[in-house]
Amino acid sequence: MAMTIHLDIVSAEKEIWSGPATMVFAPGEMGELGIAPRHTPLLTRLKAGEVRVRDQRDAEESFFISGGILEIQPHVVTVLADTAIRADDLDEAAALAAKQRAEEAISDQKSDMDYATAKAELAEAAAMVETIKKVRGRR
């Protein structure tokens, strides 16, 4: 049997995944991380993007997270996400609309929203659209 690592993905609202995985991919702030069992302890912030989980039957599942913190212990991985959604549940239209709104807010200098918030929102929306595309492409 393949070695596994216990993975927990929790968001402030709920627990979204808890169980063994053979491989985990996460969007670390400094770059994409691939986590196999017995990874060295690591602590990093996560960007908005896709967390991929490969389970014991080699099936992959995707989650979208809007950012958060990742902790790795040799046998436990914890993703503390700000918000997490199963990638299949993502709404492409809503994501595109959010992206467009954020772009408008950035170009519109008179808008109340300050630049940093708009930029963060744009990054999140873009990551969401990207995740949807990836999930579609794999099918």
Partner: protein, 286 residues
């Protein structure tokens, strides 16, 4: 018959009260279910966060974050979480009793105390007692949002970071089950985890990007999530305590009504007996 009439009006007014308590019981019961769902939904995050922090406190990092260093205690901070409304049995009173005992213990050692009051009851109580309230939040409603708490929590975090306070405690109600809620005092800062033999050996994390930045944001989130969880849990406690309190109030009202009804019947019977004996006596006299 004047006695009987008085009793009747008393029964009526108690029946009205009973209707109110009954309605409050049912409202609290339905709110409780929702509050419990919310509480169980947010629990994993707070728990996992606690686990991570526990691991972290065992890491042999080259630089210790100020939030993790034990200092000599000269001044402590309390975050006290209560409900906004009353009529929920001894929930808040028990919490205050426990807090006060702990505060007195600190006071005797010459340690000064700062309070952050969350919930209207706490705000009023500590104002009345003349405690040093540095921040307050109330009227959070049944669905508190973390944004509304961040400001008040930040006051304490800043105070801790600047060395104004040397320990931070949170007092809130722990939801055991619908019947029991216990007031608990939990130490939040400096963070310390229980001993774990597995993590005894010398190790440290790899930090990306760098340890200071990530620890800052992690510990900030940790405290926020603990306080948020405390508030959410307190609402579930409040609702179930209110439901129980209102249920016993309704039952008590029922008892009083049945007592009064017996009294009313007796008074009525006595009046009738008296009337009959008067008539009989009158007839005999003729």
């Amino acid at each position: 018959m004047s006695g009987a009439k008085e009793i009747r009006s008393k029964i009526k007014s108690i029946k009205n009260t009973q209707k109110i308590t009954k309605a409050m019981e049912m409202v609290a019961a339905s709110k409780m279910r929702k509050a419990q769902d919310r509480m169980t939904a947010t629990r994993p995050y707070a728990e996992k966060m606690r686990n991570v922090i526990c691991h972290l406190s065992h890491a042999h990092a080259e630089i210790k974050h100020p939030f993790m260093i034990e200092r000599e205690i000269k001044r402590v901070g309390y975050i006290v979480v209560t409900s906004d409304r009353g009529l929920c049995g001894g929930l808040n009173v028990n919490l205050f009793k426990k807090t006060l005992a702990d505060m007195i213990a600190h006071d005797e050692q010459g340690i000064e105390i700062d309070v952050v009051a969350i919930g209207r009851k706490a705000v009023e109580y500590f104002k009345r007692r003349g405690a040093n309230v540095v921040a307050q939040a109330s009227h959070l409603g049944d669905t508190p949002h973390i944004d509304e708490l961040i400001g008040t929590v930040k006051v304490m975090l800043d105070a801790f970071a600047e060395g104004d306070i040397d320990a931070l405690y949170m007092v809130s109600n722990d939801f055991v089950n619908t019947m029991t809620q216990t007031a608990t005092i939990a130490k939040i800062l400096p963070v310390a985890g229980p001993a774990d033999d597995q993590l005894k050996h010398h190790w440290d994390y790899i930090y990306e990007p760098d340890s200071k930045e990530i620890l800052d944001s992690l510990l900030m989130r940790f405290v926020e999530s603990q306080v948020y969880q405390g508030v959410v849990e307190n609402i579930a406690c409040e609702m179930s305590a209110r439901m129980i309190a209102m249920k016993s109030a309704t039952d008590n009202a029922g008892d009083i009504i049945s007592d009064l009804e017996t009294m009313y019947n007796k008074a009525r019977q006595a009046a009738i007996t008296q009337e009959i004996s008067e008539i009989v006596a009158g007839a005999a006299a003729v």
